[in-house]
Each structure stands twice: as structure tokens, then as C-alpha cells.
Symmetry: C3
Amino acid sequence: MVDGMQMEIKELVKQLAELESSKMYLDDFLLTWDRSDDEIAAVFKTAEILQNMRQNNISTRVFDSGLAVSLFRDNSTRTRFSFSSAANLLGLTVQDLDEEKSQIAHGETVRETANMVSFMADVIGIRDDMYIGKGNTYMREVAGAVSQGHSAAILEQRPTLVNLQCDIDHPTQSMADALHLIRFFGGKENLKGKKIAMTWAYSPSYGKPLSVPQGIIGLMTRFGMDVVLAHPEGYSVMPEVEDVARRNAEVGGGRFTKTDSMAEAFAGADVVYPKSWAPFSAMEKRTELYADNDMEGIRSLEKELLMRNAEFMEWECTESLMGLTKGKNGLYMHCLPADISGVSCERGEVSASVFDRYRDQLYMEASFKPYVIAAMIFLARFSNPSEKLLQLLERDSKRVF
Amino acid sequence: MVDGMQMEIKELVKQLAELESSKMYLDDFLLTWDRSDDEIAAVFKTAEILQNMRQNNISTRVFDSGLAVSLFRDNSTRTRFSFSSAANLLGLTVQDLDEEKSQIAHGETVRETANMVSFMADVIGIRDDMYIGKGNTYMREVAGAVSQGHSAAILEQRPTLVNLQCDIDHPTQSMADALHLIRFFGGKENLKGKKIAMTWAYSPSYGKPLSVPQGIIGLMTRFGMDVVLAHPEGYSVMPEVEDVARRNAEVGGGRFTKTDSMAEAFAGADVVYPKSWAPFSAMEKRTELYADNDMEGIRSLEKELLMRNAEFMEWECTESLMGLTKGKNGLYMHCLPADISGVSCERGEVSASVFDRYRDQLYMEASFKPYVIAAMIFLARFSNPSEKLLQLLERDSKRVF
Amino acid sequence: MVDGMQMEIKELVKQLAELESSKMYLDDFLLTWDRSDDEIAAVFKTAEILQNMRQNNISTRVFDSGLAVSLFRDNSTRTRFSFSSAANLLGLTVQDLDEEKSQIAHGETVRETANMVSFMADVIGIRDDMYIGKGNTYMREVAGAVSQGHSAAILEQRPTLVNLQCDIDHPTQSMADALHLIRFFGGKENLKGKKIAMTWAYSPSYGKPLSVPQGIIGLMTRFGMDVVLAHPEGYSVMPEVEDVARRNAEVGGGRFTKTDSMAEAFAGADVVYPKSWAPFSAMEKRTELYADNDMEGIRSLEKELLMRNAEFMEWECTESLMGLTKGKNGLYMHCLPADISGVSCERGEVSASVFDRYRDQLYMEASFKPYVIAAMIFLARFSNPSEKLLQLLERDSKRVF
């Protein structure tokens, strides 16, 4: 490795060392607003260092053995590969837990399964975003179970939980999105005052989770950004998360406002994030219907929601809307996959020409997720992460021989 | 690592070196009663050493590459994770073989598949416990096929087979159970004379395998224990395995008796292991019906068995039964998952308060399985295991950097 | 390692260094006829070196981390294990991509998925052999997508594609087959003038891919072999690949002829490769029916094809046909699994006694595939492969500690 690169990485490590992140050690990453500003910054910094090391062919394999358990309660190619990439980057082997929902539904079984899969697990990644009030609760149940198992000396190590998307937050997505913005604008300090429009968009599909818009307003407000949440009437997100956004904006010197006009949100925006989601109240109702096993009710709710969606087909991110953004070239973001009009559906969240123009940026946005996950794991497993990263530099093992 | 720990491990290795286990080298682990007392002791010792090393952050990665093939003919989260953990601890990568039963049912295909998956396999773990007369036979067929392939220079190495549960024995379970007892009573020598009650228990489900009770009576009798097998009339296990238990008891200075009273079995017991299983004769009949593809017959047999089970609902491990055990606090064991009354079913194998009181012990019992599997693999792959373990100590690679 | 072995490996490496294979670096392996004679020879040589190293317990782990993405559009135990073994031998972790066909069917999604799974991928193995005109096209689409992603700095590395079977070629199979012949006849130079009969054979199943016969005639013609393609009328392979075979034969000093008589093909053959496949024209029709979603049409085509197959049940590799081969003991080859008369079906591609006599050779033939795949990966990832192999020799890490 050229000396310049090594000095650059050492500078980043020095910056990491100045951040107070000690409480992340042996802890989980469940919601971004559970974590301090320094801890959030430490994740970005560690992700950047790991990426720099990999780009310079320095192995960041810190585990010679150990499992990363993946527990996905719905299908997800992207998140699966991100988690798998992060685990592999650090030397952990992914073992999927594919139990039927019914098998891990009640208390006794959660406790038991959590322990049974964790004897040699350093990490558990969970994705459970289908039902309001369930996903995050389930993660905390698993966290409690492995804590208990560790205290009782059943588990030699207490695995770290990483929230790979729940009903409330999608921290690995929002953190990757934020890292993309930091890179795009050349530094976290440059996010201050930038306007980001998190807006609802039309989709012909049903019941998309709320965790992305919630994750975005919950995180971006803390960087002093001007965050606007836009959606048609009736498409509210969880009130608790709006409260988080408001508090963050106050503390961080930013703004959090709401509107029911996509155009108003786009006006002068530096960044737009148009994405479909289901109304919170409808998702709550759906959870109840599901609990009652009322399949007839679920079908009629679905029909009703699709009809309601169809009233708002003009909520599409078009070229003319993009023309309202700052300098007519605001940054378009999406967590992917997007519903692209005329490509993946007749009418969708975004017009093909807008999507096409921003494709490289969208893929770049996604590319940060494996590093963000790896950073979350790294900070949770090492008591002195900056020292450990320096030791990795000194070890100088190559990723590719 | 502190010096004390290193000396402790060296002492364990010294004890291992005194055991005659050379016949395990390049051999399989299919039935505990195929193995000598020294070989059984070598598995316990090696498991303890591997666990000690991991607890002291010494990497036990002995394979830089190599596959561990898993061949599961029914679903099993627990066994899958145990096998995966053991493979990972030693540096092997698990590759699942998920062929349909039909594809590997007949001779030609077993031979071919066994070779095709073994070009770079050091281990094959098989679980096949569904049909009497089939599982263990299948394992021996695979063993024969890879031996043949190795002799013909097709396979560069002859992979080791580990029985992860068959119709006859469940050696990784019974060995983990025994290691739990050794730890609980502070040494294998302390098992002498201890009474263990392996008893049938009521379950509302159908057709649970016999391999656990058979594995327990076949193994525990050799430590000089007083083994009592209790079940209602008609719930006999395989006569051959009862013979094994009787012979072992004779040789090892223990006892093997039978009773049809749960209370009698529990009376004064140091350890109780209440667990449901299907009658051997019914399982034999089921295998025949399956061979004849007589689905109607299978359904009526199932109905009949569930009705017969229901006659013995009082075979539940309750607090009052536990009161009959030695000092009223005999150790409760189970291979998990248990059918817990009022929790996972209305009436089951054990009452909730008993299960609850022993939960930590039960999880601890399960925690030994990955190490037992790893030890079986280790002893089969290294001609001088104690020397190799000392070399691992000297190498002193860290599991976590 | 004994010194003799090390000298032998060094000699092989020296031979590799003399071959011009620099264009394989960072390139894909999609069709054997895309590659020069030196490149083909480099794959054989590298495969031999990797095998020699493994046999002498020298670790060939060149990746400390990194993913090998497997994208299988149909089931395949054998190819899955070969790819998995090759990845593992080099230190890569396999991550399966199991998207439904529909999800990756259209352009936008191929581009997106290809990038999303490749952030940390060094290799992508694809098997897609079901539809004429589709498989290879799909691979080139994926190749284009990751090239684009790499140019746009989205992907830190541009993963190498390995064709694990498409509609046109099956290069890992034909290369393994060729390596088997090289070993069997004691050197590539000894293939010159040897007669190989690639003949159709009867099978009671429907729609077997054409990639094996095409791969064989496309590859074996370049070693100066006398390649005869035999099939009943109407069972032609792709005309473009016949052209490739003809050109190769001309350049390489061999022969490519066709016949509709199995006996004629077998007469005096050094090697026979009898295997069923579907007629090219019928497969083209099937692709169209599938595109039109004409399930009725597909069913009737299937019926028609099975009836046509049944007219040629005498195309079976029997002992009497084997009696026509050179010295009555020509080498029988097959990619496995074979349809064996009286074993896996009533009447099939080969009689049981022929298959039985050649079983060890058939398994040996298959054993080269993992090494061939590993060699393709190795040559694509290292700019100076022979130097890197010498460094591996010097490093002298053990595969098994």
C-alpha cells in the first residue's frame, strides 16, 4: 500500500478515536435514535475506514471463526447480500434461520431458539417489518433472551443484534443513505441546512413498510437538515417517530415540517426521496386482522388500500417535478427496488428518465450498506475499535493474496 | 492467555494422550456402542479442550479450506446450527445437500451422489431418523460409497461421517447429554451409581423418533449408572438396543432395569429424562405402509397412535413427580424442544413450572452439542489429536483478533 | 512436502508461465471457443497445479474474504457442489441468489440485481440452460451490467463470470471432460488423431439441454481429435456450433464429421460419449411457446417429443456397441447422471453392465470439475498467475493444520 493511503486511513482512525462510542460495545443496533451523535458518527467513520482498507487490499478479517445468524421473516435479496457481505468482510459465516413464523411466534420459543442458534454466534441480523408493533418488539425479545443466556453462562459470548429492518426503523438503510449524502456533499458538516424531501409516491402494490420514511425523518433531522415529510392525507407515519424527528430537529438546529403537496416538498430541495408506503392506521388494522386470522378482512382491506392509492397516481417523481428542485438538479434517492413507470409497472413512483439519470447514484447509495452493517458489528465487538483498526493496518494481511 | 489457563489445557491434553483413540482416525461416528470406553472418553476430553480454547480466544481453525456436507432428510434448526457451529469452529464450510428423498433413494444414486459431493469434503453429517431400518442403513451405504471412491483414487480424502440422528441412535445428543452430566456432577467418575430415569412422557404429537431414549440407555449404562427405562405397555424401544444397554451395564458395573411406572422410575432418581416417543412396533408398521405407499393405512395408524397416546396423559413430568426424586431436586433433562403443558400445548411432556426451573440447565445441556460434534470430527481427521492440540496452543492464533 | 513434489509443481508452473493467458485477466469464461489454445491449456495447467497443491496439503486460499455468487436458474446438486468446492478452495464464500425467474427477467432488473449482489463479489457463477437463445444472452447482460457498475466506480472490483451451463456451451463440463482425457491418454499431445463419438442416446425424459454435445464438439475438435457427432434425423444441434467444430478441426488438424448411425460412430472409437438431448428446433419452438405463455402448446410439444424419442430406443450404449470400439475397450464418458437401463429407468442411455464397468472412470471424470472452475477463477483474478502460484508454494500454508 502506498504511504499516502496509509496516512489517510490513520487520519480517519484518529478522528474515530475522538468520538465517544464506548456504549456501543457489546450493545445492539436497533434504532438510530437510541444512539448518540458520536455513536452515529463512529459508524460512518468505521464504515469509511473499512472501505478504505478493502480498497487498498488490506484484510479486515477480525474473526477466525464465528457465526452471523440471519433471521429474515420475509424475502430480501438485497438485505441478505448486504448482511452476508458485511459478515464475510469481518470473517463471520452466515447461517440462515428459516423457521416458519408459527414456530417462533410465542415467548417460550423465541427465548429457546435465540439461545439454541447463538452458542457460537457473534451477530444476529433480523429483518421483521411486516406487522406494526411486532418487528422491533420481537428484536428486543431476542435481545433479552441472549442477554439472559449470556448471564447464565449458557452463551460464551452475547451476540450483537443488528436491525435489518423492522416496523419502526430501517437503520442500516438510513445510515447508508446518510453516508451517501455525506460523500455526495463532501462532508457531514455540509448537510447543515440542506433541504431533503421525504415524500410518498404512488405504487400499484400494497402494504409497503413505513420503516424507510420513518428511518429517514428520524435520522436526517439530526444533521441540521431541513426535512420535509410529504404525503397525501391519510398516509401518516407513526406519531412517535414524528416526535423523534421534531426533537432531533430542535436539538440539531434543523427543521422538520409536513405538507400534503409533493410539489411544495420538491421546491428548492437539495435531495428528494419519493417512495411509496402504506398508511400507518391501515397497517395497524391489518395487524389486528392478521391476529384474528380474518383473511376476508385482510383481502377487503387490501382492495380498499389499492383503490385509495389509485387516487394519488399523480404522486410520481417526474421530470417536471425534478425541475422544481434546487438548481433543477436535486439528488434523487431511493432504497430500491423502485416502481418505475413504464418499466416495472404502468404507473409508479418515478418516471423512467429520472430513474435512468440517477441510476449510478442509486447504486452508489446502496453500495454503502455492507460497510455500514460491518461498522455496526465492529463497534459492538471491540472495546477499543480505533486501536483494533490500527492493529489491522499493522498486521497488513492482504484480502487478495 | 493467562498461564494458568494454558496449564489447565495442557493437563487436559495430557489426559487425552493417555486414551487409546487411534481407531477413530479416518473412521465414522455412527453408534456410541461401536466405540470403546477410551474413545468415548476421548470425545469428551477433546470437546472440553476445544471449548477451553475457544473460551480463551485461541482459534481452533485446523482447516484452511474444506467442506462439511450436511444431508438432512428432515428439518432441524437445532441440529443444523450445531453441525454448522462445529464445522465453522474447525474452519470447514457447510454445504447443504437438499435432494428430494426420491432422488437418493436407490443404490446407484446413493453411491453416485455420495461421491459427487465429496471431492473436497472432509465431513458428511447425516440426519435420517424417519423410518425404522432405514436411517443407519443409509449412513452405512454412504460410508461404503465414499470408502470405495477413496480406494479408487476418485476422492483425494475419505470424508468422515457423523450420525446426526438415525433410527437407532442419536450419538451427538447422548454424548452432549453425558458431557452435561459429567460437568453437573463434577467428573465422569461421579456418575457411578447415580440413578437416571429415561421415561416416556405424553405428547399430543405423533411419531417422535426412538433414537433419544435408545441413545441414552445405550450410552449411560456404560458409566456405571443405574439406568431405568420406563414406559407404558406397548411403547417398547428396539430390543437390540435394550441388549446393548444390558451388556454395557454388566461390563460397566451399572444396572439396566425396566418399569411401566413413571413414579417408580422417578423414585430416588438423580436424573430424569421424560420424553415422548412412538412405539417401535408401530414405527415398523409405518415403515412398511410407507414402502407400500399406503397413505390410507398411514392415516389410520396415526389416528390409532394418537388415541393410544391419549390414554397415558398422566405421564407428565409434574412437580409432584419431581418431588419423588433424590432430595426432591433431581436433574431434569430434555433434548428440546419439549412439549410444555399450557405453553406449547394443552397437556404435554412436562409442566411449565418444572421446565421453567430447569431452563438454564436445559440450554446448558444443548450447548455441548457443537463441541461434541467438533470433537468427533477432530478425532477422525488427525492421527495424533493430542499433539495437534498442543500445536494449536503453540500457534496461539486468536479466534477474535 | 517432499522435495520431489515441489519440483514437480514448479515444473508445471514453468509450463504455465510459457502460455499466453494475459487476456483472461479480469475477463469472463463463457464459451471455450472465445478462448485461445494457450488460454485453454492454461486452464488445464492451473487446474493440475491446484490439484497437486491440495494433494500435498498446500493451502491455495488466495482470498481472505470475498463472495462467489451462485445464480442457478434450475436445480443442480452436482454443479452446485463443484462451484462451491472451487470457491472454497480459493477462500471465497458462496452466496446463493435464488430469485424467481420473473424477478430477473427484464433488463432493468438484471442490471440492478447484478450490481446489488456484486459489491463484494469476486466471482459470479451462472447456470441458465433452459431456453434456447436465453442463457448465454442473460450471462452477457449480467457481464455488461457489472462492467458498467465497475466503470462507474460503484463496484470496487468487477466480478468474473463463469458459465456453469447455458443454452450454447457447458465449458466447465467439457473442460473437465478434456482434462479427464488428457490424464487418461497421458498428455494432451496424445489426443491427436483419437476418435471420439459424441452420440445421441435414448432417454425416457424430455428436453435435456444441448450444451453438453455442443460443448464437446466445440472443444474436442481443437486437440486434433477425430470428432464424430451422431444422432437420429431431427436431433440436430445448433448450426453455429457445428460451424465452430468444423473451423476448429481445420485449424487444429482434426476432423469433424456427422452420421445418423450410432454403430458407425462407435466403430473404432477411442472414446464414446452417448447422451440424450432434445432437438434444437423443438427447443426453439418451446422457447417461443414459453414466451407466449402457451402451456397447452408446451404440453403437446412435450408429448410429441417423447413419442419421437421412443422411436429411437435402440440408441442405447450396450455391450455389443461397445464391442465395436477400438480394441473393444473404448473409454465410455458421461456428464452424469445417466439414464441407466434397468436401474434408473426401464430403457435408457446406457446398459447397466457398461455403466458399471466404467463407474470409477465416470466419477474420476467428474472430479476434475471443481479444479477446472477454480482454475478459471484463478486465471481471471491474477495478472501473473504463475508468479502467484510460486508465491503460494513459498507461503506453504497447510490446508489441514
